[in-house]
Symmetry: C2
Subunit: 179 residues, 2 copies
């Protein structure tokens, strides 16, 4: 998956590489969808770890560190990152038991920083929306859309948008986060 991405991914290739037969893959995971979900669940864990590492060595601008960590992981593991969003299993496909907790943990990291940066606001709602904002920039960056449109600093644009939102939702003054 990390090599060829979601489109080139195949259960048969997995079986070949780990030295098992295709049948065993299906006995363990049940379907290709659930195998991919297991991989994506693992990716959420890796992603959260990378985010925590970034935050641990971050200076006082933890928001910039967050955005950087987001982009760094996506650019460092583009196929793993894209597989999360490229894969659209049928709604009834059961999720691996770790899937939701790991995904929630990842969002929780963001939410904590938002809550710290903007104490009064609805941190959960802001976190969801700002993750969507950064995701949009990251998706356009990795997918080539930004290159097509002449955008050369996706990170900078994403960070600018995040800062604008945090400023606008800051507790007291509405013009910035610095008196």
């Amino acid at each position: 998956m990390a090599e060829g991405g979601f489109a080139a991914f195949s259960a048969r290739e997995v079986a070949k590489r780990i030295g098992y037969s295709i049948g065993t893959i299906y006995n363990v995971f049940g379907s290709l969808d659930r195998l991919v979900l297991a991989i994506n669940s693992r990716t959420f864990g890796l992603w959260a770890d990378a985010m925590r590492d970034h935050l641990a060595v971050a200076g006082e601008d933890r928001i910039a560190a967050l955005v950087d960590a987001y982009f760094d992981f996506a650019e460092g593991h583009p196929h793993l990152w894209m597989a999360i969003y490229d894969h659209r299993p049928p709604a009834e496909t059961p999720l691996p038991e770790d899937y939701l907790p790991r995904r929630a943990a990842l969002l929780g990291l963001v939410e904590s920083e938002i809550a710290r940066a903007v104490p009064g606001a609805d941190a959960a709602a802001l976190a969801r929306s700002l993750v969507a904002t950064v995701h949009g920039h990251c998706a356009f960056a990795l997918g080539g859309t930004f290159a097509l449109l002449g955008e050369r600093d996706p990170r900078g644009a994403a960070l600018a948008r995040v800062r604008e939102t945090l400023s606008a939702n800051a507790p007291r003054a509405s013009g910035g986060d610095r008196p």
Copy 2:
């Protein structure tokens, strides 16, 4: 494509439905990638038309109309819309001749409105970034991510983010678009 989406799309099925053989499809389009690109190119045209229709009947809040048009088209043709972003052809795949112009026309619609709303700013850069912002919200809405995270008003969130950015980049005062 509109029925089953990108994952379920097949050149053989297309051939069957239009009453031609699979070979003819390949003589005309050359590869599945280029067939999908032709479909996506058409989708950009449909999308731009829908945006223009929305703007034509919009009130004075043209920014809200823009965001609404974006979401309306994506929600009205989810598979067509997703196919644009789900499809990742090899970089060397030649694009249909209308592909780039149509895509540019779509962005141009946004850019014009941004330029009107925020006269002084770099409308092109803002348009790219705000489209990414709205795209992120739309992708999370259609992909189910927002449902998973408890977000119930993706449109409202997207519009709020756009307004914050426009306010922050407004020519004179930095606190709002209304004196």
